[in-house]
Amino acid sequence: MITTRTQAEPFDAAAETAALTTARTDIGAVVTFTGHVRAENGLEALTLEHYPAMTDRQLTAIAAEAAARWPLLGGTVIHRHGRLLPGEAIVLVAIASAHRQAAFEAAEFLMDWLKTRAPFWKHDGSGWVAAKASDDAAAARWGKA
């Protein structure tokens, strides 16, 4: 239903999104989110460390949770790790459904979860990026996942 993966290589958001709707006439809404590295405070590169076994296990679980909560017709979640330059895409969430509300909500749910529960850590070259309380607050609105 929702496929998930982590990779060091760039992804093709357009191709991933197009693949969800190819030869389908039951999908009415596709919502995609791409997160990009911003060149804040003179950032030269972000390096993402992660915990692969846990990422895979948790991504699979949260994708199943999203599919149980909303009537989805497909989805793709990709999170990159390793070194990324400003402007590069770091994460993709693409969700297909018959109607827009389910697609928007599921995409936001998955992003909130990725921000607060996916075991990735960003290093900006001078230090480890601190977690944001606003991300915890955003995730809390969905209840226990």
């Binding site: 997160g35 993402l48 460390e49 992660h50 915990y51 076994a53 846990m54 296990r57 948790q58 999170h79 770091i90 994460v91 992003m111 990725l114 921000k115 607060t116 529960r117 996916a118 075991p119 990735f120 850590w121 960003k122 290093h123 480890w128 990026v129 601190a130 977690a131 991300d135």
Partner: protein, 83 residues
């Protein structure tokens, strides 16, 4: 059990993983962290601010009262910053 460390927890401890054999009386995650902090100054520094420590047992998040008995893999790391 296998311990895994990430981000600044890994940096402060100095290794990414190590094999732990805690004494039998260590029942909870909180007790394990207390015991672990005594292993070296690096461990102590990594675990000094317990509110900034997150723990997963066998790839699931757990709280300080979780039991460590039967754990194969315990991961210790800062709050996550992905997405």
């Amino acid at each position: 059990m296998q311990a895994l460390y990430f981000a600044w927890v890994r940096e402060r401890i100095g290794v990414g993983e190590e094999l732990l054999s805690p004494p039998a009386e260590i029942a909870t995650v909180a007790a394990l962290l207390d015991w672990l902090a005594g292993r070296s100054p690096g461990h102590a520094a990594a675990l000094a601010n317990r509110s900034a420590i997150r723990v997963a047992i066998d790839q699931d998040f757990v709280g300080p009262e979780a039991l460590v008995a039967g754990a194969r893999e315990i991961a210790i790391f800062p709050p996550v910053t992905g997405g």
